[in-house]
């Protein structure tokens, strides 16, 4: 459906150019150009909200179309059997039609009858319009008062689609604007695309005042009664971004997304929703959207604000959502498979909010006591801020995420938001380089220089080694392991985590990411704030790893290899399928994919397309 303002785009000068009209009652003449939502300024726009775009009458048994438009059941285009389609098998899927809005926004042209359920909310809304605006109905036989004592409404309309506007007008007799216009629409005399609508008030002042009152009363009653109909049945608040399911039930877009995290059934009727998990791509119900925006613009605005507030947990300090799962390290990638409903919600919010950041903390498996009053929380206190690099939504709502480590943090205070943890955090950084140098100088000079000829201590104590030597020690360890064919240094692992870093500050992150030992052993590396300290921990972990019996070793590395392998396989398959579909599907598919990738990842989009 086009924007309600659009038909009024022809020059407002046309009104001014007509001296009769402007002089008649300049203050009361209003054209749709000066339209204010939520007011009575342009009554025909209120009536237009529920007019069918095809027959111009108030919608009757409106069907919801997948492109977001609504249409009377009787205005449905000719239905024809769809051939060559065998899946999915469901009632109504074997017939389809070409949409009137083909080529317009979001409409792919063909709809299947099964997707066009009767719009339940819109039906109720129409009932209220009928009750408030059409009563009392004029007597069927009574002839309309032909004299010009009542209000007159004039408009122009392009009836034959030839860009030439034709003047039309109607006497509203002794009726207010809303009442009169609704009845005009009911009789099919007020075209949907009427433009330059001009209202001529009644000459008699008393009568005019009465009509104004009538309009005001009807408008307010209608607004008050509408409000109860446009609450979402999931969150019990005003519907925000109304999305209508194929079965005809309308909810907030975000509520649908949350429902889909748990089930694929409609919250109201339990029929299959049949909306892909990428709810962001679904067109909104334009009729309901416009009605809500017209009558409750202020509430929509405050609701939107409250929504942002709610997602932040209402607590600006605890602003980092936590994923309690594994140990991640700065500059290193983390591969995630998101399947739990609460984390589906969390990742979606993270991606949609645009900053793409969340905190990764590992489980506190041993129930260790944490500092800062966290107690034995379910997660460890130190974690890594991850940035979502790639987000692949699978058709069933699960997702694959590649995120890279940004910085480290320490949880100061934690809370919960919709089932997942959120935390107030403090950034953790390394000590300054000067401090680092001082530490190295102090440690290397304090420790006794070992005698290289002494056979008892062939390896010097770690404290006495220079930072560079510590790095070389670990790099040598890697080289030796690789030469002996250690499976945890398989080329595929190196492909995922990159080659051995030469930077001493970064090396421990890389090392800890791939070393196949328990996460609890690696945790101290994350919280160490000096490069030297981290390298020493790496060196100690080498011993740990070397001392681990090989059977146990193979048990630990296989899952890691498997996880990365599986991940890549799924990922490549997904990319392959997408590529094929892009090639085949052309424009339509491309649109859908762009919507699947919200803006934090534009460069990836481009690469794909």
């Amino acid at each position: 459906m086009e924007n309600v303002d659009a038909p009024s785009s022809p020059t407002p000068q046309a009104v001014e150019a007509n001296p009769d009209l402007t002089s008649a009652a300049s203050s009361d003449v209003s054209s749709s150009d000066e339209y204010l939502p939520g007011t009575l300024d342009a009554p025909h726009l209120i009536v237009r909200l529920i007019q069918c775009q095809r027959c111009s009458r108030p919608l009757h048994t409106p069907l919801r179309l997948p492109c977001g438009n609504a249409i009377c059941r009787s205005c449905l285009p000719t239905v024809r059997p769809r051939t060559g389609i065998t899946y999915p098998v469901a009632e109504g899927r074997e017939e389809g039609f070409t949409c009137y809005w083909t080529g317009a926004s979001n409409c792919v042209g063909e709809h299947c009858v099964g997707d066009c359920g009767v719009d339940v909310v819109l039906c109720n809304v129409l009932g209220l319009f009928q009750e408030e605006l059409a009563f009392p109905m004029p007597d069927a036989g009574a002839s309309e008062n032909p004299d010009d004592s009542g209000r007159i409404v004039r408009w122009k309309v392009d009836e034959k689609g030839t860009n030439s506007l034709e003047d039309q007008s109607a006497h509203l007799s002794q009726r207010g604007w809303l009442w009169g216009l609704y009845l005009l629409a009911w009789e099919g005399r007020l075209p949907y695309n009427a433009t330059e609508v001009v209202y001529e008030p009644e000459r008699e002042r008393a009568g005019e005042q009465m009509h104004q009152q009538d309009d005001q009363i009807r408008f307010e009653r209608l607004r008050d009664r509408l409000r109860a109909e446009v609450d979402c049945q999931v969150c019990y608040s005003l519907i925000l971004d109304p999305l209508t399911t194929p079965c005809g039930h309308t909810f907030c877009r975000k509520c649908v997304a949350r429902v889909l995290d748990h089930t694929d059934l409609c919250p109201v009727c339990r029929r299959k929703v049949g909306i892909p998990a990428a709810v962001q791509a679904e067109p909104l119900n334009s009729t309901i959207s416009q009605i809500i925006d017209h009558f409750f613009a202020d509430q929509v605005a405050s609701r939107r604000e409250a929504d942002v507030e709610d997602e932040a947990g209402g607590d600006h300090e605890k602003d980092l959502p936590l994923f309690v799962c594994t140990l991640s390290f700065p500059t290193m990638p983390t591969f995630l498979h998101i399947f739990e409903p609460r984390y589906r919600l969390m990742i979606r919010r993270v991606v949609e909010s645009g900053n793409g950041k969340f905190g990764m903390v590992m489980y506190n498996r041993r129930g260790r006591e944490q500092s800062d009053g966290l107690g034995s929380s379910t997660f460890m206190q130190y974690g890594t801020v991850l940035m979502v690099e790639r987000y692949e939504l699978l058709p069933d709502g699960r997702s694959l995420v590649i995120a890279s480590g940004i910085s480290r943090f320490k949880v100061i205070e934690a809370g919960e938001l919709d089932g997942y943890h959120v935390a107030k955090t403090e950034r953790v950084d390394d000590i300054s380089l000067a401090e680092e140098e001082r530490l190295e100088a102090m440690e290397t000079s304090a420790s006794p220089i070992p005698d290289p000829t002494d056979p008892i201590t062939p390896e010097p104590p770690l404290d006495s080694m220079s930072t560079q030597e510590l790095l070389d020690l670990s790099r040598d360890f890697i080289r030796n392991q690789r030469q002996s064919g250690a499976p945890w240094l398989h080329p595929r692992v190196m492909l995922a985590y990159g080659p051995v870093p030469t930077d001493a500050a970064r090396f421990p992150w890389w090392f800890a990411s791939i070393l196949p030992i328990a996460e609890e052993e690696k945790y101290p590396i994350l919280s160490a704030v000096s490069v030297r300290e981290r390298l020493k921990l790496c060196a100690r972990n080498q011993d740990e790893q070397a001392n681990t019996p090989s059977t146990q070793l193979s048990e630990t590395y296989i899952p890691q290899k498997l996880v990365i392998g599986t991940f890549f396989a799924i990922f490549l398959a997904q990319v392959g399928i997408n590529f094929l579909q892009t090639v085949r599907g052309g424009r339509r598919r491309r649109q859908a994919m762009e919507l699947q990738f919200p803006h934090p990842l534009p460069q990836l989009n481009r690469r794909r397309n």
Partner: protein
């Protein structure tokens, strides 16, 4: 943790327009936890009894249904010894606390031994309904009328 607006609204409505025969009061220190009591429906074996239940709204309510359990012992084919309830309609988001409690009340009025949770009770209900009803009445007298 902030309480979702839906829970606040539902609680307000429950307080403002209580369901006849059902009383649900949230705990002061945890607004997700309700003490519920349901009066046994008239003309049922549970008539005259007041049954206590506990109801808890999980973190992701209304996406997941409320957790609800009988605390008072009851002899009923769809309620097991631990007080767990077998409801056909286990909470799509559009189902409210009110409707769930109503359907439990209805379940007391119309036991359904064909969809049992307590197998022994259901079997007895099918084999000898008058005797089963008699037991249910006795249980109501001993457990739900004190």
């Amino acid at each position: 943790m902030a309480l979702p607006k839906r829970i606040i609204k539902e609680t307000e409505r429950l307080m403002a327009e209580p369901v006849p025969g059902i009383n649900a009061v949230p705990h002061e220190d945890n607004l997700r936890y309700f003490d519920v009591s349901i009066h046994g429906p008239a003309q049922s074996p549970y008539e005259g009894g007041i049954f206590r239940l506990e109801l808890f709204l999980p973190d992701d309510y209304p996406m997941t249904p409320p957790k609800i359990r009988f605390l008072t012992k009851i002899y009923h084919p769809n309620i097991d010894r631990l007080g767990r309830i077998c409801l056909d309609t286990t909470g799509p988001p559009a189902l409210q606390i009110r409707t769930i409690l109503l359907s439990i009340q209805a379940l007391l009025g119309a036991p359904n031994p064909d969809d049992p949770l307590a197998n022994d009770v259901a079997q007895r209900w099918k084999d000898d309904e008058p005797a089963a009803i008699q037991t249910a009445k006795e249980w109501t007298r001993t457990h739900a009328m004190t």
